[in-house]
Structure formats: C-alpha cells, structure tokens
C-alpha cells in the first residue's frame, strides 16, 4: 500500500466517523430542530409549556373570522387529526388562505386557544399557472375528495 492510499483511507475513515457523529448529534437535537409543532404534537403535550412556541398546520376551511376592528382574526389550525383555535391581532401575509399552510408563533392560553403574536404563511412546493390550478381544483371537487400536499408533516 502506497502512502497516498493510506492517506485516502484515512480521509475516508475520518469522513465516515464525522458522518456518524453528526447523525448522533442531529438525533439528539431532533426535538430542538423542529420549526413548529403540529396540533397533534400539542395535544400530546410535546410542545414546550410556559413559553412560546410555533404551531403549524392547515388553516381549516371556513374557520377564518374577523372581528369588528378589522385586525383581530380567529382561525383554526388543523393537521386533520387535531385542531387548535388561534387568535391573532395584526396583518396576515398575502398568501394566508383557508385550506393552505400557516405557522403561528405565540403561546397556548389556558382555554386551549393559541394567542399568536406572529403569523407566517407556509408556501408549498407546487408551482403552476392559474389555469392549471383551476383545472386541478375542478377535477378535485368532481372527485369529491379534499386533499392537499401543502403541509408535509413528519410522522414522528
């Protein structure tokens, strides 16, 4: 074995060890790396208590209501299994829509309502012209099924 072979093997082994170590680290930090908690995770008590966190999911169809002041909004975030009502006072992003993904930051009140201080729209990975989206929606309503890939939630 020539010295350069030894060096390459050393580099390779080093990279392997590094990959292993970083996998362990990422596993250990798994919980801290999520950007938001799903309503199911909140229901299971996985979300941090006593401090703010983010909740993410779909805005339930027909759940968006606006109060008289025009700023305070109520809506429900759902992951189709559990639902969490959210109250927010402020300006919603343009892409915030019922049936689309959203992430809200704030605190869970005692009555189970999530008081949001910031609401972000979560965009999905689908890009298409409006005509195609229309055709797709027509086909979907014809089939009677309401599905969406807007929010991909890890099954953990």
């Amino acid at each position: 074995m020539k010295p350069r072979h030894k060096r390459f093997i050393f580099i390779g082994l080093g990279l392997l060890a590094l990959a292993g170590a970083s996998m362990l680290i990422l596993n250990a930090f798994q919980k801290n790396l999520v950007f938001f908690y799903t309503p199911t995770a909140v229901a299971n008590g996985e979300a941090p208590k006593g401090r703010g966190f983010r909740i993410g999911g779909m805005v339930e169809d027909g759940s968006l209501t606006r109060e008289g002041d025009g700023l305070t909004v109520h809506f429900v975030i759902t992951d189709t299994a559990k639902r969490v009502p959210v109250t927010f006072k402020g300006i919603l992003p343009d892409l915030f829509k019922e049936g689309k993904g959203a992430v809200a930051q704030g605190q869970l009140g005692a009555d189970g309502t999530f008081l949001a201080s910031e609401v972000l729209a979560k965009h999905d990975e689908n890009y298409m012209p409006p005509e195609a989206a229309e055709a797709l929606a027509k086909a979907k309503s014809a089939a009677g099924a309401q599905t969406s890939s807007t929010l991909v939630v890890n099954p953990r």
């Binding site: 060096r7 979560k122 990975e125 298409m128």
Partner: protein
Amino acid sequence: MGINWFKYSSPQAFHPLAGKMIPWFSVAAGLLIIIGLYIGFFVAPTDFQQGDSYRIIFVHVPAAWMSMFLYVIMAAWAGVGLGLNARPSFMMAQAIAPTGAMFTFIALLTGAMWGKPTWGAWWVWDARLTSELILLFQYIGIILLRAAIDDLRRADRASAVLALVGVVNVPIIYFSVRWWNTLHQGASVSMTASPKMATTMLTAMLIMTVGFWMYSFAVTLARVRCVILDRERQPMWGNQTSIQEVAEAR
C-alpha cells in the same frame, strides 16, 4: 491513447489550457443566463398563488444548488489535494471558495426578498435557512483560515481539513426540509419524484442552473490562473526558465 490528462495536473501546463477554456465558458454562461432569465421573466406563466413574486426562484434555486454543489466540489479537490499532496488540487479548492460563497449569499439574499411577501418574514430560524447561513460562514471561514496562515503548505492543509469537515452540512441543508418541520417548502424538483412545477418554469430554472455552472467554470478558471501565477511566481516558468535558474531563484 489521445490526450495525456495528467499533463494538465502541472500548473505550468494547466495555466494556458485554462486560459483557452475561459472564453467558451464565459460566452456559454452569458447566453444561457440571458435565455434563462428571458424565459423566466417573460415566457413562464405566473404562479396560481404567488403571482409574479415567485419568479425569484429562477435565481434563488440555481444559486442555492450551486452553493451546495460548489462546496462538495471544493471539498473533493481539498480531499484529493490531501491524499495526493498535489498543489494544483489545493489551488482549485482555493479558487472555488469565493464563487461558492457568492452563490450562498445570493441564495440567502433572494430567499429573504421572497420570504417577506410570501411568508411575511424576511428571515426565520428554521433548519433550512439556518444551515444555509452556516454554509456561508463555512465558506468565509475556509477563505479566512487560508489567508491567516503564511506558510502555503500549512494553509492548504488546514483549509482542506476544514472544508472536508464542513461537508457534513451539505446533506443537512438538502434534507432539512424533509427531516424536520420547516417553514421553507419541500423540494419542487428532486431526483426521486417528478417535478412539482409547470414545464416552462422548470425549463427556465434548469437553463439558469446550467448557465450558473458555466459561469462558475469560467470564474474559477480565471481565478485559478491568478492563484497559479501568484503561488508559482518564484519558478518563473512563464519564460522558459531552466531548473537551475529556478533553484537559484529559490
């Protein structure tokens, strides 16, 4: 047998070859980027949700791809340099770093410009954005570490080790949207699934990507020529110096 490729592993032979290739890559880069931007801005349809603001992906996504891809190439050159003790490999790694850093910065900047109208925030600390920001710091760290060490051999080896260690971040960036809940959306284009975007949009994005590749080739080759001249200035091979003269010059 054709061309003896190993001939070009000598800086002396590679310098003129790089010089010959630069114009071709530059022209290809210019043409492809103009065509890609034209299709992206004027031909591609608007998006059903975002309207016209989505058009930033024609710069954002290719730049983000290049930032990761160039890092891997840079680390590969660094690894080859460490394994073979080859100066030209280190020179390539040195030449790639600033271009990679630039593409990382462009990806972050365009992402912020897109995030504000779409998400409602310039910046969020989700896994995808944070790991891409770390990639920018890695590039800067590698460039700085090299600049901080006067002895070229030690600078080569130190920055090569740093580049190789940092390569773990690339799969983290790429898979972050799949492994964790992030605000950043998942991949619209991947090798395992059919693209989730209209064909014209995809075409423009891929043309832009190839254009960025050509740009990276051209700029890296131009920079590696400067690096070669800078680092090999003592041997003076530019004007057919004999080995003895070189030895005397040292």
